[in-house]
């Protein structure tokens, strides 16, 4: 079955791009292609190789290891000595607000906290590109809003490129500088929408008139797809 066809998408360095589309439009496949987890049948993908962080829909933590060891995993797999890896992992855990939970096993953490650990793990290698596959879809709205804000703060601080796949119009407009709207079968980008920095900088952007207008425009693009 053809998941994607005629997909042409450039992503600028340091950009926050949201990819929006219905279930089954090939968003996840696109991320897996960029990450090199799958190979395309045709066409080329230019990505910064190993320099990639990936956040899955589920937190995908090792249940037998504490939060710190989970975050340190990518560094240890790359051959960094355990002490050094754990020191850097501790810093990253601190950054996502879980400094006090280094020893906690995933079982003991809430859904939101597990996702924070997962994000810390993706960022611990300081990747140039962060791929996120509907990471907050399973969380309640309050937790999701908080994680949205924290993710934006991290992005501004670390300045990595983010490709954020979501099926929520509201989430895409709140987070991204640019939104690529996809349609299904076969998946392709049908429209792109920019959210200017001036609008995003507005205090209480989430309740502003500009936010509502962007949401409306993106919804229309999605319906037209």
């Amino acid at each position: 079955m053809q998941a994607l066809a005629g997909l042409d998408l450039d992503i600028a360095e340091g950009e926050f791009l949201a990819v929006l589309g219905p279930s089954g439009c090939g968003k996840s496949t696109m991320l897996r292609l960029i990450a090199g987890l799958e190979a395309p049948d045709a066409g080329t993908i230019t990505a910064p190789g190993r320099d990639i962080g990936f956040v899955f829909q589920e937190p995908t933590l090792m249940p037998w290891a504490g939060a710190l060891r989970n975050v340190a995993l990518p560094l240890e797999l790359a051959g960094m000595p355990r002490r050094q890896a754990e020191a850097r992992a501790a810093q990253m855990l601190e950054r996502v607000g879980l400094g006090d939970f280094a020893a906690a096993y995933p079982r003991a953490l809430s859904g939101g906290m597990r996702m924070r650990v997962s994000i810390a793990r993706a960022l611990v290698t300081r990747p140039r590109l962060l791929l996120m596959d509907e990471p907050f879809a399973a969380l309640d709205e309050i937790t999701r809003f908080r994680l949205n804000n924290d993710l934006l703060a991290l992005w501004r601080e670390l300045r990595c490129t983010v490709v954020f796949v979501t099926h929520s119009v509201f989430e895409s407009v709140y987070l991204a500088e640019r939104i690529a709207v996809m349609s299904a079968r076969p998946g392709r980008v049908v429209a792109q929408h920019l959210v200017p920095a001036a609008d995003r900088a507005e205090p209480e952007f989430r309740t502003s008139a500009a936010y509502a207008a962007h949401c409306r425009a993106v919804s229309h693009a999605l319906e037209a797809a």
């Binding site: 897996r32 987890l37 990936f54 037998w64 790359a78």
Partner: protein, 255 residues
Amino acid sequence: MRHLKYLLPALVGLAFLGGWEWIVRANAIPPYILPGPVLVARTLARDWNSLSVSLLVTLQITFAALVVAAALGLLLAVLFSQSRLLELSLFPYAVVLQVTPIVAVAPLIIIWVEDVRVALLICAWIVAFFPILSNTTLGLNSTDRNLEDLFRLYGATRWQKLWRLRLPTALPYFLAGLRISGGLSLIGAIAAEFVAGTGGAASGLAYRIMEAGFQLQIPRMFAALALICFTGILIYLALSLVSHLMLRRWHESER
């Protein structure tokens, strides 16, 4: 609720033993047909010296077989997980080993292997081996798909994947297999002892049972049987404790 967990089985056990004793006394059943539990307990205490020596012999074979079964089962499961071809070619023969009745092959093994204790060990091992192999193989193949992708994304080597992902995933399965095999290796050891029928000082509990049977010392037979039961329960509890200690911090079964 916590107390009920221990109280209820204890009550059932007491009621069973009480009923047994009552039936024996009320019907005046002679001890060479069915001894009451009180007589069995008294015989166990009286013959403790000779029975405990035999218990030790049986336990040595049981534990040696369990250790070998655990080591070989784990090793073979790891090899299977690394090579699908190896699994396809060898797994059917592991099943053959499992479905062959041990009492049918034990005489052959005892003829072929000169040292009786080694022969007994092999018999017990055959019985104990399969649950560990099949459980661990299942565990090694049960890794989380996303975690596997993650390891791939970070370029993990085969060895890293095995050591950091597949073996930890398989640990609960392995421990469950070990719990089954603990009891089975005891059964295997005793079944083989029955077939071997070795006499002398270094003979196991099965020989004591046969010996008591020939001499119509039925209470002694029951005492040896009770000893085997207790030992089996103890092995199970000990292995459950090991499993609990290794999994309590993270596994869902230990909530």
